[in-house]
Symmetry: C2
Subunit: 326 residues, 2 copies
């Protein structure tokens, strides 16, 4: 079996070199400085890799989709800059967020301009039959906006169900990864049924990815996760863990969880007592089961891939996400 | 000669009917309610009309570019929603701005989503050879963001020249109108030289349009302009009038203008004394000359149009903008 981690690392390295000089010399500096700051500040680059591995899966290669891979990362970074404003976040990947480091107008404009640069980059890989790629890409943005809007709505809503939550993360997170796989497969020369299958792969990986994110926020390794644990509890975010706990809890535990909802969060020193409730109710294990279920659905949908190299790579990537602690 | 005003009014009416039900039933309401609010709140619809008249100019017709016309208006409305946040504006077209009526996250998301819907609408008119249309459209967004960034920058900069100002309005306003003419001409079936000529038409009309905007803000008819006169002076905006006055003023007048710059604006009761300086320095007449110069450049660039119907319509549209008081 090939060393997929090594291939992945080397591709991400190449991408990062591109990102590191993407906006360097562009004017006005007041717009492109912040753009360079956010796009050069690291990140897992999972979305570009989803594009690339999907091209591989249908017999294409990384070179076919390099600009599309850059495009989805630009798009992802637009969502980060704007979401950080909406969430009043002051840190991202350990660095000061754009609207704090610069100002609000700069952050809004930086995000807007990143959308345009995403399309610009995508265009470089779309020479023929680009309508469907553009359609999917555009629909991806719409889904993200709708998902973020639901997320904002759920902040105020008291009775969010797990079904509501899944609808929201499907739009906000999973649709974008599904879109990445879709355009990667199409630009890689895939047939319609192959493209559809890879869209499912991406959608299910995306669901697993977001529930994993919720899980790691409380049960991850603080050093590897890159930020303090329990942030979602402090902010009162309606994560999978909290919503599942609300379903299962009774009596005093239920009361305590409802108090968190009413107060829209807890203080830092209350994290451990809430963590204890979650452990007692077994919601961490429920989350792991959901993550595995979605990962298995993802893997099932790429059964059609027969060539061992891309097939193993798709499995490796799913497992890489499943086992991640970052 | 045909009644162009009537044709224009009837087309705008048709467009408005489309705009009035664009987002009506879409969910989540928290996202599409504000989208409907802004797109349904009127406006001159000059950008869609620029698309349409350009298609006509190259032998195409309005039907070819209807969705593209919708697209540029969606894009324009995205810039309005986000610019109003940056400018702390509380009114737009006599109605409360989106970020005030709803909230900041809603306004950011509404603008973002409008960009995606603009692309979505554009795609409907781009069946073949869509790359160049998409390229131009995307470049239009980049120019607008760069222009807005310069505008923000100039708020702080003390020594803005008329050349700086023109560079800014070229990007922020004129490029978008040029883009409208470009995609209208391309989708209408124009040849490369015709498309280039119509891009120039749009660029020069756009320059005239923005200087006219500055002019009307102080010398317009309050009722027809739709807002109180002198708003730019109150905010200390570096308009054509102010920058030209700064070039020409000497002695006490110069001192007074510099005081406005230092204080980043004046109070309402000072407007008339500043207006007097502008009248004495003849800057209103300078502005009119610039507006006419750009309008003539626009008209010259469409000399190639020989068919009387579109030719007269292009002239009518330029004159309509030149004589507007709204």
């Amino acid at each position: 079996m090939k060393n997929y981690q090594k291939i992945y690392d080397s591709e991400i390295n190449k991408l990062n070199k591109r990102f590191n000089k993407l906006f360097g010399n562009k004017k006005p500096e007041s717009l492109y400085g912040p753009s360079q700051y956010i796009i050069g500040s690291g990140g897992k680059r999972l979305r570009p890799f989803s594009v690339m591995v999907s091209a591989l899966a249908v017999g294409g290669n990384f070179r076919n989709v390099y600009n599309a891979a850059v495009a989805v990362e630009l798009l992802h970074n637009f969502t980060l800059v704007h979401d950080d404003i909406m969430d009043h976040a002051d840190k991202r990947r350990g660095k000061t967020t754009v609207h704090i480091k610069y100002d609000l107008p700069t952050a809004i404009l930086t995000g807007d301009n990143l959308i345009a640069y995403a399309y610009k980059s995508l265009l470089k890989d779309c020479k023929n039959d680009c309508e469907k790629v553009f359609e999917k890409f555009t629909q991806g943005i719409i889904e993200v906006c709708e998902g973020q809007s639901l997320d904002e709505l759920y902040e105020e809503k008291q009775d969010v169900s797990i079904a509501d939550y899944k609808k929201m993360i499907r739009k906000k997170t999973a649709s974008l990864i599904s879109m990445c796989c879709s355009i990667g497969a199409r630009l890689g020369g895939g047939k319609e049924n192959e493209i559809k299958a890879l869209e499912k792969y991406g959608m299910n990986l995306g669901m697993a990815f977001q529930i994993q994110d919720d899980y790691l926020d409380l049960f991850g390794d603080e050093k590897k996760f890159g930020k303090a644990l329990g942030g979602d509890l402090i902010e009162g975010k309606k994560t999978y863990l909290l919503l599942r706990a609300l379903e299962k809890a009774r009596g005093n535990e239920k009361k305590k969880l409802l108090k968190l909802l009413r107060n829209k969060g807890i203080s830092k020193n209350e994290i451990s007592s809430y963590k204890k409730i979650f452990i007692k109710l077994n919601v961490a294990s429920d989350a792991r089961k959901e993550i595995e279920r979605y990962t298995n659905l993802a893997l099932k949908s790429v059964d059609f891939v027969k060539n061992p190299y891309p097939k193993e790579f798709l499995l490796w990537f799913a497992n890489f996400l499943l086992k991640r602690n970052f």
